[in-house]
Symmetry: D2
Subunit: 282 residues, 4 copies
């Protein structure tokens, strides 16, 4: 996990053979260092095909997911661990380096109350089991804090670090996302300051999930602080332009957040790369 990559949602939300081939060809075209593969339905993935496709194109990858409701670690930790184990196996079979994302719960999980001790205990225990399994497969295992509307469990960098320390697994890491940081952190860089050496992956996503550089994120502050903590992990552009309706609900995207995917690639991508280079992160 290093260099500049992109979330596959730029090109497909279906990691079937056709979707995978298109996404990898585009990632090569745009000279990405890696792809982040959305592992929404791990069992449906033809891991062998993905592995060959990635290897043939010399493309590194990581996987990410959110858990389906029956597998939320806070409520159904055992089911959740089983789900994560399958996803980790697929991740390893595909030749990916890590599994990350909302690995602790669902996008949209909210009880209406602050997280309880029992919820956090359930999450920690289950993450510990999943992390051990990930280690046995040679994988890193990340957790991504998301904003208050998408979960009540982990919203900030410091909460992620607290969870990792509670679990105590050395192959776990914090995976931040500028879109969520812009809502949750006291200063967009605070999450980076809090996560520091635990931070190995970051989504570069604009404040409205549209074209990077055309929103309210303070990119100089973000990149300067990444440089200051000597960040060496993966920088992954993410934009949710033109989501399919069935995905839109969880993400609450009700209108096109950019004029087109082209605008994201032609304006947003050079913007982020130039900034990353300016701060010597690439």
């Amino acid at each position: 996990m290093e260099g500049f990559g992109v979330h596959t949602s730029m090109w497909t939300m279906s990691w079937d053979k056709k979707g995978a081939e298109y996404a990898v060809s585009q990632a090569v075209r745009y000279q990405m260092d890696f792809l982040e593969i959305a592992l929404l339905k791990p069992l449906d993935v033809d891991a062998e095909h993905s592995q060959r496709l990635l290897e043939k194109n010399n493309m590194r990858a990581i996987c990410s997911l959110g858990l389906p409701e029956g597998a939320w670690l806070s409520k159904n930790p055992d089911t959740g661990v089983e789900f994560l184990k399958v996803a980790l196996e697929k991740t390893a079979q595909m030749g990916c380096e890590a599994l990350s994302g909302v690995t602790y719960g669902g996008i949209g999980e909210r009880t209406g109350f602050p997280p309880t001790e029992m919820e956090l205990d359930n999450v920690a225990r289950a993450l510990g089991e999943a992390a051990a399994y990930a280690r046995s497969l040679g994988l890193l295992f990340g957790i991504e804090p998301v904003n208050r509307y998408e979960t009540h469990l982990i919203n900030t960098g410091w909460q992620s670090v607290a969870m990792i320390e509670k679990v105590g697994a050395h192959n776990m890491f914090v995976h931040l996302d500028t879109y969520h940081m812009n809502i949750e952190e006291k200063g967009v860089a605070q999450g980076i300051l809090d996560a520091r050496e635990h931070l190995k992956y970051i989504h570069l996503s604009e404040s409205d999930r549209g074209t990077p550089g055309a929103g309210t994120c303070d990119w100089d502050e973000i990149f300067a602080v990444l440089a200051a903590i000597d960040f060496k992990g993966g920088l992954a552009m993410e934009s949710f332009v033109n989501m399919p309706p069935e995905i839109a609900y969880g993400l609450s995207v009700w209108r096109p957040v950019a004029a087109s995917a082209d605008e994201v690639m032609e304006n947003g991508l050079p913007f982020l790369r130039n900034k990353a280079r300016q701060y010597q992160l690439l």
Copy 2:
């Protein structure tokens, strides 16, 4: 609606006699020009008491609300209009100048799909009836766009203007909120640019709803653009520090967003007032 005020949530979420008296005394203490009263349960309000209290303290006020689920205009426009009429009557009886907020629906209303024509038609027709009733009472009537997680109907300044133009009522206005703008607009000031002469009221709320000045909002940009469009409306500080649990769900506030209410008043309030004065908005 002009000058610098504050949302009553700083001091109470219950506009009963005790809550009202405390909030008004604090508003006087902090030299507020007006109060925004959360009209969560209009029928329970002793309007006569509020009217005397406000008048005695020479304190102006406006009311705001979100609709309960059975009264969402998109689905139950007739019930919604009845609810709004009661709220408007209370607003007038209290001697307030306007009713505003999520007057078109519920905080948390999401169908999982973009707004349909029928939903928007229902909303427009009902808002038109409510606006006419407001006019008969001498009141202004506002709509506040909120972020994608709190509604799927109206998230941005331009959507608010489109709705007001669809309704065609001259006593309607746009009520923006910097917290939501920071998530939804392409540049935090874009909503102000789009709303322009329709903008008569703005919530000054930090990116995490905590202490103004300690988050990610670009306040210079916000105030400079307000000055540039010659904004003359009300500036209302809002912070959701220490919400009661029953309110937290709709707002998805799971942790204290500031160290204390004192921090908001002692750090955030002078910060906002200094900036507003710098740009000659006060």
Copy 3:
């Protein structure tokens, strides 16, 4: 003066035939709407050649200058007016629309004291004569405030407006520069707020005069406020990468402020154009 243009210093500091032809060809290549021609030595310009060159390429232009020491309006107003008249004649002969820049003095003019009444009176009287002459030639006539180190006379937007009001000439306008505003104004947009309807031209120059987008200027704030005041004038990119030594002194550029002119054109130009389009200024 409208649309997006560029200062000729990107390509030449010598507006001789060769320099002019190269600059115009490049301006066409980069689809500029206009050129700003540095009229350092008005008498040396072959105006007829320039006029034909510009017309043939359908390229609009304005001229700009700073006065040589013997012609500073504060001290030698009569000589200054003569110099300006020659420059205005050349400007008209070249088919340009305006003369602007530090038309009131020298870049580097500082007495060590705040401007005196006599200095300002001299400047105003001389500017009045020059403005009248400009009007007789059908030209607009601008003044550009520059930072405290480059002049002690006019550093801010409001000082420019005060001078224009003191002169009382209707063909005068304020010409701002983001590089100077970043040093002098209380908030980078304050100069725009103060100049408002007087503002007809703005230099888009980064905080270190290098690649736009790679410095400390808050471009969203700048463009948002330009949009808010309904700015219709000229947007002119300016960068002083690789100045010849004889120019460097006045501008105090002691090191390359960008890696190359290419970096300015390939990174800075798209950055500015994208932002200008985002705020519907193009």
Copy 4:
């Protein structure tokens, strides 16, 4: 050198007994951790009086200066070293911890050309002698890069580090200033990134040298990056409100940069302290 202090120019430009007593009393009143004493005329200072005054008030201090023209290290290194030795002796006698500022030259020193090898060699050799003398007195010795108009020698963080490495003295440090960084650095935090472990002192000065928080400096970015590099040095507020005319020339301050010194102390000081606390730098 740690904690939050202030440049004495807030209260006096004359470090005579009266000026010193007033400045120290004010520093105590505002609970400063240290004072930065402008050592404009080292020989005139009654070091014993200062030492007693500081000790009695339990006030730490550092000294700063710029060199008079005859003592510029680039041209007159030997005279410069003599001047610095006197200043260092006074600094030690006063019980101060360090001498810093434009210790390598004059404020306003510009040849009109980039620094030559000979100039830089002279500066390095002289700084080396002064640093050795400082070490013998138990003092730290700093260099402050200033903007292009105030010197042609050292304008940025990386140039300061290059000079310190050229000198090779372990008691030397980089002393940054946000006002200069805002003009010279590629992103206001770049100088901090470049200076890193060499950075032991920073002037917190607004973009126009007026009231901190009311200009164009991006303070969140500055403080976040200071926190990220684990900065432990001194934070010194600086504002040049109401300079005496004889000082104004070097600093090119032609108008009041703030409404009053009170505005700086009542608005700017709490703004900076709140931000420093937010990022746990205090």
